[in-house]
Symmetry: C2
Subunit: 426 residues, 2 copies
């Protein structure tokens, strides 16, 4: 009889932590077919993306093809496509390659950078959300040092050896710390004309302190750790202008060849095109069960969703939230198909961590607050534990063990953006 | 007294096997300073480059920054620059970033693809010489499967699932074999609409057999091995026309979305700009000590040089020749600086190998000729042994052990060529 009923179609937008965790629970369930749509062909372990940007890891070590993660599930189809809009009335997700009809829709399309209206700044200050952006940042950092080595003009050289990171959240802190570590240790002996240890690194934060979501003591510990790596922290310094090679903070102007953007995110543009309630950051406001107010068959989760936690504040845009929400939605869909009621989502807070460099991290786990080596080791094992794929874990572990003892970074490659040798003739 | 004499300047063009091996011998010698110039910032282990193109390895696993390879040598400076011309009279190597004055010049700038006058074909059929090209090929191969999965038109789908490799030398054989293996094993379970096992792979060779530098028996063994992976071999089939999505061989026409070029190489363009004797492939003809006829202070080696071996034929464009020649030149320069005579170069032939796939390879080592599992294991250990960097060896070994047992490929990433999220506003 099962075969007589038409299978319910569940469409998942996004192969991030929301999508993969939902798909794994829905996989192989009877009576449903699952279609996961993502622009990229890979699931990305975003918490380690900054490591690719600073040449610590290779892209393949933190990314796995979505197909292979889900290949065991015969009821699941993976499509590489970009969704342009959602038609809530017709229950259609419309993409470049086709339209996907759904009975249930799970939106986990994530977030993109927020340049707060100055999208043109992206050209001069790339953000860090995709592998392409991470390798572009890596290319820019490595090229700056190469150019500085042959530059004779002193002020030009100083510009090349100045790195500005905008945004003092975890990503900004991780980027700035890693650039500090790279310039102070990894590159120290490699150059002849320049001394990489003299590299200026400036972390710019609009608010009154970095890592504002953390306890104040931990935040100030992180600031001291950053300073020990040569990073200068400018707080209460909103960026007012950004051009090629310079950053304006009020009336101050810094010349820098490499500016990186980690100042804010906003929900994927899919949200803006649906007529649903969003917050200032374009995150879609969801009900207690993560569904849309007037479309209970549509769920939104992860960075794309605004879900008020128990303290009334929005849950943070971090991996554990996305993973728990993805699993919760999938269970609720299966509940409903089996005529059981939906359950409201409750976030199990596992705490938060940020790493600054080798042996330097801060952690808040429950009521525990700790920092230094212990926090760093905890951070390291938690991240390796959650990395997808057995082989990736071993390789990342070796990379880190090697970097730890040698201070080296393996992936210091400048890969040309143009692969052609001969010029185009047309 | 040593400090009173001006140090002799040795300029090395190219950080390939020639340059690195020469630099390592010249490193820390008294009375000389060494400048190594390369367009890229990394030394590339080219024999494994095809593995990056077929998603078996990551770029960083076969590439090491030239700076870190040579950071121990205080007399050696590494510059990332592209040399446009050599002024033999003034003893100057002229680059974009500056001119490099030399007492001795070592040219090891390698080779590029030979489209035999049809350079416009590169757009449709990339060759495999740089990391950027390897990742571009990987992108094209992976995208072809993704597009085929959602393509409804049958002939379009067939085109997407047809891979043509032009050139039956070791690189072409390795590429075709690896695509065969990937489609038959790695991807077999990942798709729902297409069956990757039905992928057509065509290896096109203008000559009468593939791997013509090998013994005829081994070459036919390799052909059988390729066929067992689904590769069809077309011999005596010179390509007459190549457009986007199609290859003409005489009057026959194949529709293929992915055409790869491995049909021939020619010496770097630096050779063409100097007024020196070159062969048909633009390789610079050198003397018995690898120097130029009328400029004994200039040496040329590796793929860029034409050096007649003991049998009167040119030495092949393979890594062992370049490594031995690089070391030989460095020793001769040190000889001369110590008033000892130069020694003529003699190639110690260590044989040749080609791999077709898992457990499939052919080898000629001295008078030994063997194939199959033993040849494959030999190939594998020789390549890992020569890989630069302790960490890279371990990681590549793990990657291969993992692929061997799981048939998986770790680096199946499609990384967008455009890193920007927001469109450019200018």
């Amino acid at each position: 009889m099962d075969a007589m009923i038409e299978k319910k179609s569940i469409v998942i937008i996004g192969g991030g932590f929301v999508g993969i965790n939902a798909a794994k629970i829905l996989g192989n369930s009877h009576g449903i077919k699952v279609t996961l749509v993502d622009r990229a062909n890979h699931h990305l372990f975003q918490p380690l993306l900054y490591q690719v940007a600073v040449a610590g890891l290779s892209p393949a070590e933190i990314a796995v093809p979505i197909r292979s993660l889900l290949s065991d599930f015969a009821n699941t189809k993976v499509v590489q496509d970009e969704i342009n809009s959602i038609n809530l009335k017709e229950k259609l997700a419309c993409g470049h390659q086709g339209n996907y009809s759904y009975d249930y829709l799970i939106l986990g399309a994530g977030a993109t950078h927020n340049y707060f209206g100055n999208e043109a700044w992206e050209e001069h200050a790339p953000g860090l959300k995709t592998l392409a952006q991470a390798t572009e940042i890596r290319r820019r950092i490595m090229i700056a040092f190469e150019k500085a080595e042959i530059e004779k003009d002193l002020s030009e050289r100083k510009k090349l050896l100045t790195f500005v990171v905008v945004g003092g959240g975890p990503t900004g802190v991780e980027l700035a710390g890693a650039i500090g570590e790279m310039s102070r240790f990894t590159l120290a002996r490699d150059f002849r004309s320049i001394d990489p240890k003299l590299t200026r690194i400036i972390l710019i934060e609009a608010g009154s302190r970095i890592l504002h979501s953390f306890d104040e003591k931990l935040s100030s510990r992180a600031a001291r750790d950053l300073e020990s790596l040569g990073v200068q922290i400018w707080t209460e310094s909103p960026v007012t202008k950004l051009t090629e090679n310079s950053v304006m903070v009020g009336k101050e102007r810094i010349s820098s060849a490499t500016v990186l953007w980690a100042a804010g995110v906003k929900g994927s543009r899919i949200g803006a095109q649906m007529e649903v309630e969003v917050d200032q950051q374009n995150r879609i406001i969801v009900e207690k069960d993560l569904s849309l107010k007037n479309s209970p068959e549509v769920f939104v989760a992860g960075d794309q969703a605004y879900f008020a936690g128990e303290d009334g504040k929005a849950l943070p845009a971090i991996a554990p939230v996305a993973m728990q929400q993805g699993r919760h939605i999938a269970k609720n869909i299966l509940n409903e198909l089996n005529s059981r009621p939906r359950i409201n989502f409750r976030y199990k807070d596992k705490g938060q961590m940020a790493t600054i460099g080798r042996k330097k991290a801060i952690a808040e786990l429950g009521t525990l607050r700790f920092s230094g080596f212990l926090a760093w080791i905890t951070w390291l094992f938690i991240h390796i534990f959650y990395l997808s794929g057995f082989k990736n874990r071993i390789i990342v572990l070796i990379q880190w063990a090697y970097s730890y003892f040698s201070f080296a970074r393996g992936a210091r490659l400048i890969i040309d953006r143009n692969w052609r040798f001969f010029k185009k003739t047309k």
